[in-house]
Every structure is written in structure tokens, then in C-alpha cells.
Amino acid sequence: NAGVTQTPKFRILKIGQSMTLQCTQDMNHNYMYWYRQDPGMGLKLIYYSVGAGITDKGEVPNGYNVSRSTTEDFPLRLELAAPSQTSVYFCASSYPPEASAFFGQGTRLTVV
């Protein structure tokens, strides 16, 4: 049972480039989330999904897009990378009614 898997683990992007952070889970969870972690700021919610075909914005969605075509996958897209998007990105999944979230190992992204 792999849990939540994120790829890649590390990436360096140039300003203006685009990329997709991949996230897949094998626990059949309906709910999936993308957070970013910046030093001293905790984690901030970027986007979330409560099921296939349904996505919604979180606290800091600007500059990002998501899709949820299957229960398992929840990719995060950066269209025009900016230095402010340098961060560690975590994907998570959870199931109702309990709110416990399972996190991936993270993707460390640097935009230069």
C-alpha cells in the first residue's frame, strides 16, 4: 500500500516555464488537497477536490491549476513559474467522516 505518491521530489524551473506536479493515491479517498509549505508559515491550501470532476480553490490558488479526472490522480499545474512559487508542495488525501489527512513526501520546487 503506497499511500500518497508525489513526483518529482525536486525540480528547478526557470521563470516563465511551466510544469505539472503529479500526485496519486491508492487508498480510494474521495478528498484530495494541494498545500504549499513556506518557512515559518505552516502549510497553506492551494486547491482541493472532493471527488472526481470536482475542484475548488483554497487560500492561495493564484498561479496554479488542477484537474481531477480520476479518484486516484490530482495533478497541480504551474503555467508561468515565478520566484514566489519557490516552495515545498505537499499533496494529501482524506476520507469522511474523520478528517485525518495522509500526506505525500513533498516536491521541493525552486524557481530561478
Binding site: 478528498y31 469522511p96 489527512a101 500526506f103 513526501q105
Partner: protein, 114 residues
């Protein structure tokens, strides 16, 4: 909307000493409360959670936390820490709407010294 404040950004402590990591929250509705631990270069792992019932919650690795509704606090405690407890600890809340979104505090870095 909710907010979470972790009052200490860093807590140094000697091995085998007790520790308390403080967490206060603000919310206009009832919430679930969580503590997560993040070891270096790892994802977050659930330590414990409060959903309802007894206000004293026991978690993994000998940690426990007490929910105090009147003080809107959920402090994490361990009676005797080990070097291996060195990590970052995050307090988080989720309202009862059902979408399970977490609002995190800024984190507390626990540094256990020999």
C-alpha cells in the same frame, strides 16, 4: 474561517525532559483538532486528533494533547523526550463542514539535545 497560532517557533529541550508545545486556535464554529509531525525531508504524519469525547487525547510515540474549549487551546505534551523526537510539529484545525480542509499553525521546531 479559522486560524491557528503556535506560540513557540522553536523549543530546545534536553533528552528525557518533559515538553509542552502550545497551540491556540480561533474559530466561530466547532472544529476538529490535530497535531502532525514532520521529520526532516519527510511528509507530515498524524500524531493525534481530537474529534469529540474525552478532552485528553493520546497519540503515537508517547505524545498526548488536551483540548480546552474555554481557552481554545490544544497543547501537545510528552513526559520524557528522546533525540528521535527532534522534528517540526504542526497544529491544525478543520471545521465540521465535511470537506476536511486543514488550517495549519506556523509550526514549532522541537530540538532535543543530549
Amino acid at each position: 474561517a479559522q486560524s491557528v497560532t503556535q506560540l513557540d517557533s522553536q523549543v530546545p529541550v534536553f533528552e528525557e525532559a518533559p515538553v509542552e508545545l502550545r497551540c491556540n486556535y480561533s474559530s466561530s464554529v466547532s472544529v476538529y483538532l490535530f497535531w502532525y509531525v514532520q521529520y526532516p525531508n519527510q511528509g507530515l504524519q498524524l500524531l493525534l486528533k481530537y474529534l469529540s469525547g474525552s478532552t485528553l487525547v493520546k497519540g503515537i510515540n508517547g505524545f498526548e494533547a488536551e483540548f480546552n474549549k474555554s481557552q481554545t487551546s490544544f497543547h501537545l505534551r510528552k513526559p520524557s523526550v528522546h533525540i528521535s523526537d527532534t522534528a517540526e510539529y504542526f497544529c491544525a484545525v478543520s471545521d465540521l463542514r465535511g470537506d476536511n480542509m486543514l488550517t495549519f499553525g506556523g509550526g514549532t521546531r522541537l530540538m532535543v539535545k543530549p
